[in-house]
Symmetry: C2
């Protein structure tokens, strides 16, 4: 690695290489069925990616993505080994959340005639009643939520989705649309006996325009497969998640997934050009435009981006993909205070501007945890202890120009005192070791013991105040660890405690939500509301807005069959 | 200017300067009232910007933006002088469109008690009944649509907007929300006697965060004033329109304005972080988030982006603004065929990637027209006639790097035969002269005589086929001119005829809409539907989608008082 020197005369020349690994070609797998075993191209060590936080799992365990048959079994073994304690806590949370929900008595129970109908339209093998397969589909990624569905359907076409929903609506059978089931808020599994509609069989690329970079594909395409397909075409997906080996594009759209490229390419509301979605009554909404500009009336596709499958089932997606750029650089830097981190962000936006692709931060508590809990992790800046660390990644089209630009920026930042030390990765191995620190924090936290996790958006200026206020509030009773996507104003606030304790929880909640609300933050930056936070919505949304949400839900899904008990507060959704 | 040389050894060194003029500071004018005369900082010649196409008027006439008193009078004088013939044609179009609409009999007529009520809440001077002032507010930018409203209201706060709407809803008084009244589809003026709510008095910046670049402001802020405000802060607006001297941010959001920076910064759906909007019943929806990530339920703000004031009145806006970058370069290039233009776009996206900020094209017919009709315009590439011309602009943070990068790209493109000739502007004057050609085309077209104008989005690959098909169809009867924002897939197709002729119109329509629809294009790329194209919506939107639009309109505005007769087809809107 290149050490950034304090003395101008010692400014080091760089002779590094682009270090970002390309995903291996998976084009031929795009048309594979979900019961074919597919090995992801993710490249990290042994930590199971489903334990890590969404967007925190960049280089994670090889994942078997047979989403219906045996997927996630390897992960679960590992999970059971290393984090049983955490699950006990999570289960307690779950019990407490589930206790508030009662099955909507207006929903019908599944009858043999229903099964026969579905077999008639989907064929025997796409109507799943096998207990083991249902157990997987009923259980969420974190083992936190578990439903009791007796039926999993695997439609292969939009028309089949339409037929399923039309029937379920007429019979008042509740349904859960399911993609890769990688959600973290209980949104993708049944709460009770809802019919699961898994989209994994709709996994074809429909079209790709190499001039405009516009990709049209079915909802069940796995994100990593799309990344690989585009890599061969010289393009990238505008979003990248740790869960990419399992998550499906329809699910990422339905949850408005954020991830690692948001600071550069913006949210899915900007990148999704069109959608096809099926309403509860079976009506197919063809909004599958492939245009950057289309001002012909209300842009209804946005209703389906981030509504977690509660307004309709996304069946196809049109997405603008950026061209792949060849030059990637990464710096690992130290700042002495949070104000310097903020100023550094401002300078990076201005001086790196068009090549800035990530701006992540961690505090010293997060660094200590990574160093103490993770095997093989070393501090790239070992000479002194620092209060904050920042990772700055650039992505551009010219290796030498970009590197010089980053070096000049870093040198200026050192001279002005914004950064107190720093290193620039010289190859992919060094870069991976830097990312391992940042991305290993969720794993380190899980290893450290019982954990209270919060995914918050807060205006950047105030973001770290919450960590300090929480630290002052909790004193010695628990350790407060803060890190996250500073470039997006997304804080991952974690409280690591010696044991699960209702007293500590009472100190944290509702304080953390109230604090976030007071500063006009969001109680869910990237994970959604799902079942977990449906009742907390008022911390982030005004009463009148939630009322309109409920009216739109009622309009589009009058029987409330689509993903019930999620997103909307139960007081409002039960009336719909 | 720097001529791009064919011979590698003769590759010219560049010593140019950044040429993009900064707007002069107007910070102090941000809090000015709309009846103060404000002179815009736009810097072109004598062509009135309200004659040019939206997004086509970059350097336009100095505009007096006293939007209530005497604004646009200078423009109109100029307009009357140079384009009377065109207005005759437009008026005929208007008559034909208006003939299809009947006043909704469920709307009340204005009564003296109503006036008294409004004076009570707004004060005497903000309730306008003066005929001259009403005449301006009743008439659209192009003199194409004219309403007969007897009342213009000037609210100063969200609460006042709420009171107005609550009252109008209870009285069934129809209203037209109005910003700068720069729309081109009859969306911003009354059709009959609707009450006009002009937002120009709500023109304050509420907050600006220099770390995140997030601006919060009232809906009536004039775009150019915001640009100037941000310029002082080291930021830019993510959109830039020719109408910036008059258009208001609330109007640009309500019409989802596109403009010149879309290819770089994307659409408003990606850049608008939050909105405050008032529903027809007076309910205020506070969705004024300032967060890049917020996944807490349906993102309802998107309903108000591009719905042309028919679902609610936007009162405040939160917008993500990019940092200002110092280096701007412009190349004027020739291509021999449309396929080369396409390939050049692909290469530019890949090789210029992060610094590409505009990719515009014009065909030889457009160039001939500019050369023949515009004073002082010269062909920068006079040695040979070429079939297509492309302007490529880059914007980045490092002058020398960016220029070298552009030069290298241009050299490669010459070597590979994608471009046959080209020049690189060396200073702002040369750059302005290049832009003058591209931006002068609407003016040249107006000068050439009767004109049929279409603003279409078409997949890039097929975009120019329409011009060729139209040319084959029309033969010698009219001249087909094509240009536009190729980087966005936005074609401005213009048919210049010797005289207005129903036979020619019948050759063009509905063919142009059918062709666009067949290729999954949009019949309105950036202008919206307004009154003009409300009944043409089915060319771009599926029946089921329009039906959901109508349901949402009915849900949010059950009496249909908000901007009636616009956006939705009259068959559906009259039933709501």
């Amino acid at each position: 690695m290149l050490r950034i020197m304090m003395n101008k005369n010692n400014r080091a020349a760089t002779h590094g290489h682009s270090w970002r690994q390309c995903s291996k070609p998976l084009l031929d797998l795009l048309s594979s069925r979900p019961d074919d075993p597919i090995i992801s191209s993710s490249n990290s060590g042994c930590y199971p990616n489903h334990l890590a936080e969404n967007g925190e799992q960049r280089r994670s365990l090889q994942t078997c993505v047979d989403c219906v048959g045996g997927y996630r079994e390897t992960l679960r073994t590992s999970m059971d080994r290393c984090s049983r304690q955490a699950f006990v806590m999570q289960y307690r949370n779950f019990v407490s959340a589930a206790a508030k929900v009662k099955r909507n008595p207006s929903f019908s129970a599944l009858m043999p005639d229903d099964i026969a109908y579905f077999k008639g339209i989907l064929g025997e093998k796409n109507v799943i009643q096998d207990e083991d397969r249902l157990d997987f589909a009923n259980t969420d990624w974190m083992h936190k939520y578990k439903g009791s569905s007796k039926l999993l359907l695997l439609p292969r076409t939009t028309e089949e989705v339409s037929q399923i929903l039309r029937y379920c609506n007429s019979r008042r059978l509740a349904v859960v649309p399911q993609g890769g089931n990688t959600g973290l808020v209980g949104g993708s599994v049944p709460v009770f006996d809802e019919v699961i509609i898994n989209m994994g069989s709709m996994n074809k690329v429909v079209a790709f325009d190499k001039v405009s970079g516009i990709l049209v594909c079915e909802a069940g395409c796995i994100l990593e497969n799309l990344i690989s397909f585009l890599d061969n075409q010289g393009f990238i997906m505008p979003l990248d998640l740790g869960a990419k080996g399992s998550c499906q594009i329809g699910g990422t759209v339905s949850t408005n997934a954020g991830g690692l490229r948001l600071v550069r390419y913006g949210s899915l509301h900007g990148n999704i050009l069109g959608l096809e979605a099926v309403l509860a009554n079976g009506d197919v909404l063809d909004m599958l435009g492939t245009l950057r500009k289309d001002n012909t009336g209300y842009d209804l596709k946005h209703l389906f981006i981030g509504s977690e499958g509660s307004l309709g089932v996304v069946t196809k997606v049109s997405i603008l993909t950026p061209p792949k750029l060849s030059s990637v650089n990464l710096a690992f830097l130290a700042c002495e205070d949070y104000l310097s981190c903020q100023k550094l962000l401002l300078e990076a936006k201005r001086k790196l501007g068009e090549i800035l692709s990530a701006f992540e931060f961690l505090d010293s508590q997060a660094m200590d945890l990574a160093l103490n809990q993770l095997d093989g992790v070393r501090n790239p800046l070992p000479s002194l202890e620092h209060n904050f660390y920042v990772l700055i990644e650039t992505t551009g089209s010219d290796e030498s120009y970009d590197k010089e630009k980053l070096e000049a920026f870093l040198f200026c930042s050192m001279e002005s005192g914004l950064i107190s030390d720093g290193v620039l990765a010289q190859d992919i191995y060094q870069a991976s070791s830097f990312w391992r620190i940042r991305e290993g924090i969720p794993e380190a936290l899980m290893r450290a013991g019982p954990l209270y996790k919060y995914d918050l958006s807060i205006p950047v200026e105030k973001l770290y105040d919450l960590a300090e206020d929480m630290r002052a509030r909790l004193g010695q009773s628990a350790k407060v660890v803060a890190y996250g996507h500073l470039g997006d104003g997304n804080l991952h606030l974690n409280i690591s405690a010696p044991k699960y304790n209702d007293m500590i929880l009472a100190q944290i909640e509702p304080f953390v939500y109230e604090w976030t609300s007071k500063h006009r933050g969001s109680i869910s930056a990237e994970h959604g509301l799902g079942l977990m936070k449906a009742n907390e919505i008022f911390y982030s949304k005004a009463q009148e807005v939630v009322q309109v949400m409920a009216s739109i839900k009622k309009l589009l899904d009058p029987n409330g069959i689509l993903n019930p008990y999620k997103v909307l507060p139960h007081s409002l959704s039960s009336s719909s």
